[in-house]
C-alpha cells in the first residue's frame, strides 16, 4: 500500500469517526419522581407592612400638564372636573413657493393668511363620551405661560402671579365648533377665520392662542394631537393659495378643582404626578403557613436562593371624582438611588416590564378593593445579595406612572393602618442541598 493510499484511508476513517462524534444526543429522562434525591417545598408567605416596610410617603409635583402628550377637555366630569386645553401656535411660514405673473416659480415672502383649518385627533378609548359631543374653539385674548398656567393663574413665574381676568382662560372670543362622535371617527375639524389666523401669525399680537373645551357636561375627552393647516397667499401671486402646516408651540391643560391631598391614601399618577415611595427592611426569617411548618422546620431563613417571587400587594381605592382613570394605567417601579435627596433623588432602571404593570380603570372606580401587584423580585434579591462590606444597595422603591405625566387621572391605594394596607407576598422554595447518591 502506498503512503498516499494509507493517508487517504486514515483520513476517511477519522472523518467517519468524527461524524459519529457529532451524532445528536438525548439525555435519558425518567418520569419517576422517586429518583429525585431531594424534595423541595414551595409555599407563599404574606408579610404585613410592619414586618418589611419602614417608611412610606406620597410625593407630588413631578412634571406639569404642559408635559402631557396632547391635552384634556372636560366639563363637569363626574360632576366636578372642568378641563380646558390651551394651545399656542408658532413657526408660521415666512415664504411660500408660487408662480409669479410671468409664470416663473419663485419664493414669495410677503404672505397673508386667509384662514385655516384645525384638525383635532382624540383618543377614542380614553375619552368618555358615548355619543356626539361638541368641541368649542375659542381665541384666548391674554398672555399665558404654558408651564405655569392654571385654572386661576395665567402665569406664575419669577415670583409673580398673574391671574386670568376670568378663571379658566378667559376672556375668550369664539372661533368655531366641531362635533366629536366616536362612531364616525376620531377627528374633529374646525375652520379658523382669517382674523384669528392673522393674529396668531403676527408675533407681536399673538399673545393668546387657542382654547379648546367641551360643551356638554359630564364628559372628559383626551386630545392626542392637533394639526393646524393655514391658508397662505403671497403678494407676488395673490391668486394662488397654498396650505401650510403650523406647528404647535405650546400646549397645556388647565383644570379645576385641584385634587385633594392624598391623606392616608397612596397615590400614583396625575399631572403634576404623584409618586409613592417606600423603604424596605426585610426580616432575616419568615414564618410559613402552619401546614408548611408541619413539614419543615420553622421559621425559615430568607435567602436569595429561596426566593422565587416578591410582589408588593396593594389594595385599590376609588380615585377622587373627576380624576378616576378611563383607560388602563401603567405603573412603573424603580429603585430610589439616593433616598436622602427625595423628592429629587435619581431613580434606577425600571423593575417592571417594559410596558409597566397594567391597572384597569375599574380598579379605581366603584368600590375599589382590588389587589394590585407590583413586581419586586429583582429588587429584593439585589437587597439580599448585597455585600455587607460593600456599597449598600438602595432600599427604597418608587411607584410612579410609566410615562410621567400621562394624564390627569391617577391611581389610589389603601395606605397604612387599615384593612388592605400594603403587604409583601413572597414565594419561597425550601430544599435540602443536592447530594450524591
Amino acid at each position: 500500500m502506498s503512503g498516499s493510499q494509507f493517508t487517504e484511508r486514515l483520513a476517511l476513517t477519522l472523518l467517519l469517526v468524527a461524524g459519529l462524534g457529532a451524532c445528536t444526543e438525548t439525555v435519558p429522562t425518567a418520569s419517576n419522581g422517586d429518583l429525585i434525591p431531594i424534595d423541595p417545598l414551595t409555599f407563599e408567605v404574606l408579610l404585613p407592612w410592619a414586618e418589611f416596610g419602614t417608611s412610606i410617603q406620597v410625593i407630588g409635583g413631578f412634571g406639569a400638564p404642559s408635559e402631557l402628550s396632547g391635552g384634556v377637555l372636560a366639563e363637569s366630569f363626574q360632576g366636578v372636573l372642568d378641563v380646558r386645553t390651551l394651545i399656542n401656535f408658532g413657526f408660521f411660514p415666512t415664504l411660500i413657493v408660487v408662480e409669479d405673473s410671468l409664470g416663473i416659480t419663485r419664493p414669495g415672502e410677503e404672505l397673508t393668511f386667509p384662514g385655516g383649518e384645525l384638525t383635532l385627533f382624540f383618543d377614542t378609548i380614553e375619552s368618555t363620551n358615548t355619543g356626539p359631543v361638541t368641541v368649542v374653539a375659542e381665541a384666548i385674548t391674554g398672555a399665558w405661560d404654558p408651564r405655569t398656567a392654571t385654572w386661576v393663574l395665567a402665569s406664575d413665574s419669577l415670583g409673580q402671579s398673574v391671574p386670568w381676568p376670568i378663571p379658566g382662560g378667559g376672556p375668550t372670543r369664539p372661533i368655531g365648533t366641531g362635533v366629536f362622535d366616536k362612531s364616525v371617527g376620531d377627528t374633529v375639524k374646525i375652520t379658523i377665520d382669517s382674523l384669528t389666523v392673522a393674529s396668531w401669525a403676527d408675533s407681536l399680537t399673538n399673545v393668546g392662542g387657542l382654547l379648546l373645551r367641551v360643551q356638554e357636561s359630564g364628559e372628559r375627552l383626551r386630545l392626542n394631537q392637533v394639526l393646524f393647516l393655514t391658508n397662505a397667499r403671497a403678494t407676488i401671486n395673490p391668486d394662488t393659495m397654498t396650505q401650510e402646516v403650523v406647528l404647535v408651540r405650546d400646549i397645556t391643560s388647565i383644570f379645576q378643582p385641584d385634587p385633594a391631598a392624598p391623606g392616608t391614601d397612596l397615590r400614583v399618577g396625575g399631572a403634576p404626578s404623584w409618586r409613592t415611595v417606600f423603604s424596605l427592611d426585610l426580616p432575616d426569617v419568615v414564618m410559613p403557613p402552619p401546614e408548611v411548618c408541619a413539614i419543615i422546620q420553622c421559621p425559615v431563613e430568607l435567602t436569595p436562593e429561596r426566593l422565587n417571587q416578591a410582589e408588593l400587594v396593594l389594595t385599590t381605592r376609588p380615585s377622587e371624582a373627576g380624576f378616576q382613570p378611563s383607560d388602563t394605567l401603567r405603573l412603573d417601579t424603580r429603585a430610589v438611588l439616593a433616598h436622602e435627596q427625595l423628592p429629587k433623588s435619581p431613580l434606577g432602571p425600571s423593575l417592571s416590564f417594559s410596558l409597566g404593570v397594567p391597572m384597569p380603570p375599574e380598579f379605581f372606580s366603584g368600590g375599589g378593593g382590588q389587589a394590585a401587584v407590583v413586581p419586586l423580585t429583582p429588587f429584593i434579591i439585589n437587597l439580599m445579595e448585597a455585600d455587607p462590606e460593600g456599597e449598600p444597595p438602595p432600599t427604597s422603591v418608587a411607584l410612579l406612572a410609566l410615562f410621567e405625566p400621562n394624564g390627569l387621572s391617577f391611581a389610589s391605594f389603601v395606605g397604612l393602618g387599615g384593612v388592605g394596607e400594603p403587604v409583601l407576598r413572597l414565594v419561597l422554595t425550601v430544599s435540602e442541598a443536592v447530594k450524591l447518591p
Binding site: 476513517t13 469517526v17 435519558p28 419517576n32 429518583l35 423541595p40 414551595t42 407563599e44 443536592v434
Partner: protein, 392 residues
C-alpha cells in the same frame, strides 16, 4: 510514518475530548451510574471482557493487554455511539448518546517492555428525571415541573507497564487516578404566575470532582502456541467526590471493590480464534456509602465469542467476529438489581501493515442488547469504533 502517528495522536485527543460526555442508559440513575466495561471495538465484537486476548491490545481494564506492543509506539481511541428505547413503567422514551470509551497510547521500552497511558470512562452519570406536580401558593394550585439533571461521570487516567519475562509468560501493572466530575441540579419551574411577574425558577446545584487511586496487576500465560490464559486483579482506593467551592454541598466517599478478571483465547486453526472471559466483584461494601438505598452485592460478568478471518480486504486480513456478553450491573433502577445481555458482531479493517504487523487498524463492533432492572427495560444498539495507529 512518523507524521501519520502524530496525525493519529492529534485526532485521538481532539475526538476524545469532544465525546467525553454521554448519556446512554437510565441505569445511570442508580448509585454511581452505569459502569463502563473498558473494552474496545475488537473485544466488544467478540463478547470478550478484554482479558486474555491473544493479540496485543491497549485496554484500560487489562494490564497485560499491552504485552507485545513492542515494535512501534501506538495510539488508540474508542468511541461508542448508542441508541435505543426504554420503558420505566411510567414512561417510554429514546436513548441516544455518544460515549467516549477510551484514549490511550503505548510506547515500547526495548523488545520486552511497554509503557502505556490511557484515559477512559468508568461510570456514566448523565441522566435526568422530570416530574410534574403542583405547589399550593396561597390556596392556588400552581403547576410545577421539577427537572433533576445529573451531568458528568467518573473517568480514570492510568499509567501501565507490561513486560514479557519469557515467550510464555508476561505480567502487567497499572496505577492511576480517578478523575472527572459530576454536576447535579434540581430546577423547579412554575407554569402559571398569577401575579405581576413570572415566578423565578428554583435551582439547587452541586458539583463534585472525583479523585482517588486505583491500580491493577495481571499476568498472561501462553501454555502452548496459540493459547493464552490471563488473569488480573483491579484494586481501587476510596473514590472521593469533593464538592467544588462554588457550591455548599457535602463531600462523599465511596469504597470501590476489588474486581477479579480471568480470560483466555485460543487459536483453533488458521484464522479461527475463540475467546472466553469472566469477572466478579462484590459491591456490597458500598451500600453504607450510598445515601439512596440500593440493592448492591456481588456482580458477575462473562462473555465469549469467536473471530474468523474471512480473507483479505483492502490489502489486509479481514476478520469477522461474533459473541455474547452478560453483565450484572452494580447499581440498578430505583434500587433494583440490574443485568445487561448483548449479542455482538464486528470486523477489522487493516489500513496499513508491515511484515504482517498491523500498523493502522479500524475496528467496528456492533451490539444489540437489553438491560433489565425492576420496572426498567431498555433495548439498545451500540456501535463501537476503535482506531489504532502505530508508527515510529
Amino acid at each position: 510514518m512518523r507524521a501519520s502517528f502524530r496525525c493519529g495522536l492529534a485526532a485521538c485527543l481532539a475526538l476524545g475530548v469532544h465525546g467525553a460526555a454521554s448519556g446512554q442508559s437510565l441505569l445511570s440513575t442508580g448509585g454511581l451510574g452505569l459502569p463502563s466495561d473498558g473494552v474496545d471495538a475488537w473485544a466488544r465484537g467478540m463478547g470478550s471482557l478484554g482479558t486474555g486476548l491473544i493479540l496485543p491490545s491497549l485496554l484500560p481494564g487489562e494490564p497485560t493487554g499491552a504485552l507485545d506492543l513492542v515494535f512501534v509506539p501506538s495510539v488508540t481511541f474508542t468511541m461508542e455511539p448508542s441508541w435505543g428505547t426504554f420503558s420505566d413503567g411510567g414512561s417510554e422514551g429514546e436513548l441516544r448518546g455518544n460515549r467516549f470509551g477510551m484514549i490511550g497510547g503505548a510506547y515500547p521500552l526495548g523488545l520486552r517492555s511497554t509503557i502505556s497511558l490511557s484515559l477512559s470512562s468508568v461510570f456514566d452519570q448523565r441522566w435526568q428525571v422530570q416530574e410534574e406536580s403542583t405547589s399550593n401558593l396561597g390556596g392556588r394550585a400552581v403547576p410545577t415541573t421539577d427537572i433533576f439533571e445529573s451531568d458528568g461521570g467518573v473517568a480514570a487516567v492510568r499509567v501501565g507497564y507490561a513486560r514479557r519475562f519469557s515467550p510464555s509468560l508476561g505480567i502487567g501493572a497499572t496505577v492511576g487516578l480517578y478523575t472527572g466530575s459530576v454536576t447535579r441540579t434540581l430546577e423547579r419551574t412554575f407554569e402559571e404566575a398569577g401575579g405581576a411577574t413570572p415566578i423565578t425558577p428554583f435551582r439547587s446545584s452541586g458539583k463534585w470532582r472525583y479523585g482517588g487511586p486505583l491500580a491493577s496487576v495481571g499476568a498472561a500465560w501462553d501454555p502452548v502456541a496459540g493459547v493464552r490464559i490471563a488473569a488480573s486483579i483491579h484494586w481501587s482506593g476510596t473514590l472521593k467526590a469533593n464538592a467544588t467551592d462554588d457550591f455548599d454541598v457535602a463531600d462523599a466517599d465511596f469504597d470501590i471493590p476489588i474486581e477479579f478478571k480471568v480470560g483466555g483465547s485460543a487459536l483453533l486453526r488458521d484464522g479461527l480464534v475463540v475467546s472466553l472471559g469472566f469477572s466478579t466483584a462484590d459491591w456490597g461494601g458500598i451500600a453504607a456509602d450510598l445515601q439512596t438505598p440500593a440493592s448492591v452485592g456481588r456482580v458477575v460478568s462473562f462473555g465469549g465469542g469467536v473471530e474468523y478471518r474471512l480473507g483479505r480486504f483492502l490489502g489486509g486480513p479481514f476478520p469477522l467476529r461474533a459473541g455474547f456478553r452478560h453483565r450484572d450491573l452494580p447499581f440498578g433502577f430505583g434500587g433494583a438489581e440490574a443485568t445487561e445481555n448483548s449479542l455482538a458482531t464486528g470486523v477489522r479493517l487493516t489500513l496499513l501493515e508491515a511484515q504482517s504487523i498491523p500498523l493502522a487498524t479500524f475496528d467496528i463492533g456492533f451490539e444489540y442488547g437489553t438491560r433489565d432492572s425492576g420496572l426498567l427495560t431498555e433495548d439498545f444498539r451500540r456501535l463501537s469504533v476503535t482506531v489504532r495507529v502505530s508508527g515510529g
